[in-house]
Homo-oligomer: 269 residues x 2
C-alpha cells in the first residue's frame, strides 16, 4: 500500500495515452518548459510479452520503498518474476514465485511503511477544486494524483487506475518492494481466488525489470510528462472538467482526481 | 448515455461476485425478505464465447429505451451482433456490424434520451452519506448506483464499472438501443481508434441475446439481488465504509458509490 509510482502501459515505443482532440491542441501549443523529462533513476522498465511497461517512481512519497526497489532492480531480482494475479476491476500483482529461493529469502525483509508523508510547502501540490469521496483535498504532485489532509498534516498518492504500490501482508511493515501491484479498478471482489492464476503456466513472465538509468541510451525511451504545476496542465484540467465536445449535452464542470490521465510523450515527437 | 442496466459477468452458472469475508457473514444471516428475485422481463442474457453475461434493465430510469431494447431482443436483433470495441479503462461496446442491413435500417430510428428523470418520493433512494465528485447526492435505487440533485429535481443512474448504457452519436436522440455499452473504467483515452477492433475477425461474437422471460425456465438463472433499501444492505455499506479487516491500517470510514458491488446470488444457494 505504499505508493511508488504510476504504471504506464506502453507497447513498444508507442505511447498508449492519446488525449482527446481539444486537449491535443492545448498540448501542441504548450511551451517546452511545461514538460519535464522523466528522471532515469526514477523510471522503471518492465519487459512483458506484450511490450514494455514504464513506471515512474515517486521517491518524494516513499523514499525507503523506492530505495528498496532500486536495490532489487540492480540485483536483477525481478528478471524471471511473474504476473501472478490479475483481479478484474482491482489489481495486477507481480513477484517472484512463492517457492523461489530468492522470494523465500525476502520474506523476512521489512521496510517501513510509507502510507503518507508530512505536508511540506516546498513539495508541489496543485489542488483540484472538486470534492472527493475519500480525502478532504485532492490534486496533483510531481505528475501523480495526490491527496492532502491539512488537519492531520499528511499528504499521500492516490489509488487511481495505473498507480503502483508495494504489496504486503497484514503487518504494516511486511512489504519490502519484492511484490508490486498496479491498480486497475476500484471494487475488490475478494476473497479467494482473488484473481491469482491457478496454474503457474498461466502466469505472465517478466523477462526483465530495469531502471532506465541502467539501460544503454539507445534502449531508453526518452519520455517527458506534462508538469502538473504548469499553466498547460491547469488548462488541461479545465478542458476536462468543462466538456466542450458537442457529444456532451451537459458540460458537467467537474472532474475526478482519477479521471485525469497524465499527458506523456516521447521527447521531440 | 441513457442508463439501462447493470452488467454482471457470469461465467456459466457461477456468480462472479463474491463479497469479502465480513460481508459474507452478514449476507448469510440476512432474512430472505431482504432479497428480491430478478424480474425476467428486466433480465437480459448475452451469450458470449466466455459464458453468459446477465444484465438487469432499469425501466424506472429509462422506460423508452428499455422498451426499445425489449423490442429489439424479441426481434432477435442482437443474435449475430458483436463486441466491436473494448477500450481499456473505459467501455466495451456491442452492436450489429455497421454494414449489416439491419444495422443500416436502425440508423434512422430515434428514441428520446433519458439522461435523468424527475425525483419521485415513491421511487427508492437509499442515500450514501459521503461526498461525491460529480453529484450533490449519491446512493442506491432498486439495486443500481444512483445520484440525485434536489435543486434540479432530477435523479439518474451513475456510470460505475458494469453499468450499461445506450450508445449514440452527437445528437441526444440518436441512440435507439441497437448499440449498447458497458462501463469498464473511468478515464477515456480517445481519440481514434478508441479500442475499436481493426479487423472484423477480432470482434467477439454474441451468439444470442434474450430476455430471461423468453428463455424456457430450465435455461434461466434464478438470481436474487440484495434489496438496496434493506437493513442488510445498510449494514453492508457500513461494513465496506469502515474496514474491520486487520489488513487495513486506517478504517477509512467512507466508501464511494462505485465501490459498492451489489450482492447477487443464485436463489436457494
Amino acid at each position: 500500500m505504499d505508493f511508488v509510482g504510476t504504471f504506464r502501459a506502453i507497447a513498444a515505443a508507442a505511447i498508449a495515452f492519446v488525449p482527446p482532440a481539444i486537449a491535443q491542441d492545448l498540448l501542441k501549443d504548450s511551451p517546452a518548459s511545461d514538460w519535464r523529462e522523466l528522471d532515469p533513476e526514477n523510471t522503471l522498465y518492465l519487459e512483458l510479452p506484450a511490450g514494455r511497461v514504464v513506471i515512474e517512481l515517486a521517491p518524494a512519497y516513499a523514499p525507503a520503498n523506492v530505495a528498496a526497489i532500486r536495490k532489487l532492480l540492480r540485483q536483477r531480482y525481478f528478471d524471471g518474476s511473474v504476473v501472478l494475479r490479475v483481479q478484474d476491476n482491482y489489481v495486477v500483482q507481480w513477484a517472484r514465485p512463492e517457492d523461489d529461493p530468492r522470494a523465500k529469502a525476502m520474506a523476512a525483509v521489512k521496510v517501513k511503511p510509507e502510507f503518507s508523508r508530512p505536508v511540506d510547502p516546498g513539495l508541489e501540490f496543485t489542488p483540484l477544486p472538486y470534492p472527493d469521496t475519500y480525502a478532504p483535498e485532492v490534486g496533483f504532485s510531481q505528475g501523480f494524483a495526490a491527496a492532502r489532509d491539512a488537519k492531520r498534516g499528511e499528504t499521500w498518492l492516490v489509488h487511481c487506475y495505473g498507480s503502483v504500490g508495494v504489496g504486503r501482508d497484514d503487518d504494516a511493515d511486511s512489504g519490502n518492494g519484492s511484490e508490486l501491484y498496479a491498480v486497475i479498478g476500484q471494487s475488490p471482489r475478494g476473497p479467494a481466488p482473488m484473481g491469482f492464476y491457478e496454474k503457474p503456466s498461466q502466469r505472465i513472465p517478466i523477462a526483465s525489470a530495469r531502471l532506465a538509468a541502467d539501460v544503454p541510451e539507445a534502449g531508453r525511451l526518452r519520455l517527458e510528462a506534462l508538469r502538473t504545476d504548469s499553466a498547460t496542465f491547469k488548462a488541461y484540467i479545465a478542458s476536462r472538467a468543462t466538456r466542450k465536445e458537442s457529444w456532451f449535452k451537459d458540460p458537467i464542470g467537474r472532474i475526478g482526481v482519477c479521471n485525469m490521465p497524465l499527458p506523456v510523450r516521447v521527447k521531440g515527437s
